[in-house]
């Protein structure tokens, strides 16, 4: 039996396709990004070796650090929004009437493509005919904001649809985790006289803490590499006010044909993401798993 289950040819044959795809399409390109960052290259002609110049310029590039700051702000807002999702999931999972329908409604934005969401919200934010300013006008607001054209608020105007888009995903994860808590534990607490709030904070929250930590990592990492909606809605504008790391990289490489410098930025983005992931994982590491 053990001999059959250690068949080397079979193992090699079955692991090869996955290993090949992941190596060739994910890991080798990542290494190449670091290497291209050492080059002066327009993407078509010959590469010219520069050494660390691109990286040195990138570290002093105020536009890059602005975009990194915007990415970090998105990470902060996404993490804070987890509190709302957690509260909503707790209510939904506590067997209230209509929770099935409500859950499905909450999940819907998750299904839409970023392009569709971007176009939809561009229309919502439309200064003259959009839903938002129409509502504001009925409340008598005279000069409603130019949501996507105002450099002071464009970033936050974009955060709202991003958070809207991902609400369903996190609610789904929390809901599934909460449903896994055995009913007997909750029942025992209730018999002991615990209030619904006590049950939520003292029993449910600790029991799903490991999942909450996973979602914090997901929200932060996801925010640092976020791209789609920003690229479609504003292209990083106006005047770089909504640029994030990925959109800045994309602009450098595919709009300005500066593939060498774009690669250096892409590699810094990778390093920043990995460092932040490592730190967040360390900070949220659990010493002992709760068993139930």
């Amino acid at each position: 039996m053990n001999k059959v289950m250690s068949n080397k040819w079979f193992i090699a044959l079955y692991i090869f396709p996955a290993l090949f795809l992941v190596s060739v399409l994910i890991f080798i390109p990542l290494l190449l990004t670091g290497y291209y960052g050492l080059m002066e290259w327009d993407g078509i002609g010959a590469m010219e070796f520069l050494g660390l110049d691109n990286y040195i310029v990138a570290i002093q590039d105020a536009n890059f650090w602005d975009s990194a700051l915007h990415s970090f702000l998105l990470a902060l807002f996404s993490t804070l929004s987890l509190i709302i999702y957690l509260a909503v999931s707790m209510i939904l999972a506590s067997k209230i009437k209509g929770s099935d329908v409500l859950r499905k409604i909450y999940l819907i934005p998750m299904l839409l493509s970023s392009v569709a969401i971007a176009q939809l919200w561009i229309k919502i934010y439309d200064p003259s005919n959009g839903v938002l300013n129409t509502i504001l006008a009925t409340f008598g607001v005279e000069n409603p904001p130019l949501w996507l054209a105002d450099t002071n608020i464009v970033l936050y105007s974009i955060f709202i649809p991003i958070i809207w888009q991902y609400a369903g995903f996190y609610i789904l994860i929390y809901y599934a985790a909460l449903k896994n808590i055995p009913e007997s534990i909750i029942e025992a607490a209730r018999i002991d006289g615990a209030s619904p709030l006590q049950i939520a904070f003292r029993i449910k929250l600790p029991l799903i803490m490991s999942i909450v930590k996973v979602t914090i990592v997901l929200a932060i990492v996801g925010s640092l590499k976020y791209f789609d909606l920003i690229y479609v809605m504003t292209g990083g504008g106006p005047n770089g006010a909504s640029e994030v790391m990925a959109s800045y990289m994309y602009k450098l490489a595919f709009a300005n044909n500066d593939f060498g410098y774009g690669s250096a930025i892409a590699f810094l983005m990778l390093i920043i993401t990995l460092i932040v992931t490592y730190i967040v994982r360390k900070l949220t590491a659990t010493k002992e798993e709760i068993q139930y």
């Binding site: 399409l25 994910i26 990004t33 409604i105 176009q119 129409t134 994860i173 640092l224 990289m249």
Partner: protein, 273 residues
């Protein structure tokens, strides 16, 4: 909790629900209006007459090609991902070999990678082997980038399969291929349907790879196609609305049909982590 408590609870839930669903209802509404209604009337007004011609117009002006591309690229990439991920997960969880932990770790690192950091070399690689502006570059990229999350969801399920099944099959003289394709793979159907829908949502909506690797209109998928389309119909909001509704409808229907499966699958595997 008293009556007022419940009332407040439902009020909060309703506000969240309205926030989540209203933009989509509004989208459907304006897809059925003409420009005069959209610009002259309140954005909350119902369409005066249902204008299906918006849909007819955008469908006839070429959205069908994008739609068809989305369907086949999504379908093939999902099937490939499920097959390749299942084979790898089977070997990692059920077979005995020294490097299995290390290889698994490699796949899980893939979860943390920002795809944009690999975009420039991928573009260059596909350019070198003439796969730029070829839909197969998209299919293999989707497959590779979906493998880590798919395997993560499959893992939990595979660990729970009883060893006796394998023993019985081997004693009965089944080959390992037969064991995998005829016995194990069919047993994983519930979790496969979860991963299939998650993969479907991702592939159907993917933007950056198609936008970067594909330049011909005939190969574009809906996400990128509608972006161009919106450019052409800049001022015709009804047509834009119809385009967006067409692009979201299939995934919406698929999800409403399978949504309970997704919750089941996620609670039975992934998030136990």
């Amino acid at each position: 909790m008293g009556r007022i408590g419940y009332f407040l609870l439902y009020a909060c839930l309703a506000i969240v629900a309205v926030f989540q669903i209203f933009p989509i209802i509004w989208l459907v509404l304006f897809s059925l209006k003409d420009n005069r209604e959209i610009f002259a009337e309140s954005p909350f007004a119902l369409p005066q007459e249902i204008r299906w011609e918006n849909y007819l117009k955008v469908w006839e002006s070429g959205i069908g090609v994008y739609f068809f591309n989305s369907v086949w690229i999504t379908g093939i990439a999902v099937l490939l991902t499920l097959l390749v991920a299942s084979m790898a997960t089977f070997v990692i969880t059920r077979m005995n070999w020294k490097l299995s932990k290390l290889v698994l770790g490699l796949f899980m690192v893939g979860l943390m990678i920002p795809i944009h950091s690999a975009l420039i070399p991928l573009f260059d690689m596909f350019n070198t082997i003439n796969l730029i502006d070829n839909p197969w570059s998209i299919v293999i990229t989707y497959t590779a980038y979906n493998l880590p999350i798919t395997m993560m969801i499959l893992l939990g399920f595979y660990y729970t399969l009883p060893r006796e099944i394998e023993e019985a099959a081997i004693i009965d003289g089944a080959s390992l291929h037969r064991l995998f394709f005829r016995i194990i793979l069919p047993m994983t159907t519930p979790v496969l349907s979860t991963t299939a829908i998650i993969n479907m949502i991702y592939n159907w909506n993917e933007f950056v790879f198609v936008n970067t690797f594909i330049s011909s209109d005939k190969y574009k998928t809906l996400t990128v196609g509608i972006q161009n389309f919106v450019g052409q119909y800049m001022t015709d909001w009804g047509a834009i609305g119809a385009t967006l509704v067409i692009s979201v409808l299939p995934i919406l229907l698929a999800f409403l049909f399978f949504s309970n499966k997704v919750v089941e699958g996620i609670s039975s595997s992934a998030v136990k982590g």
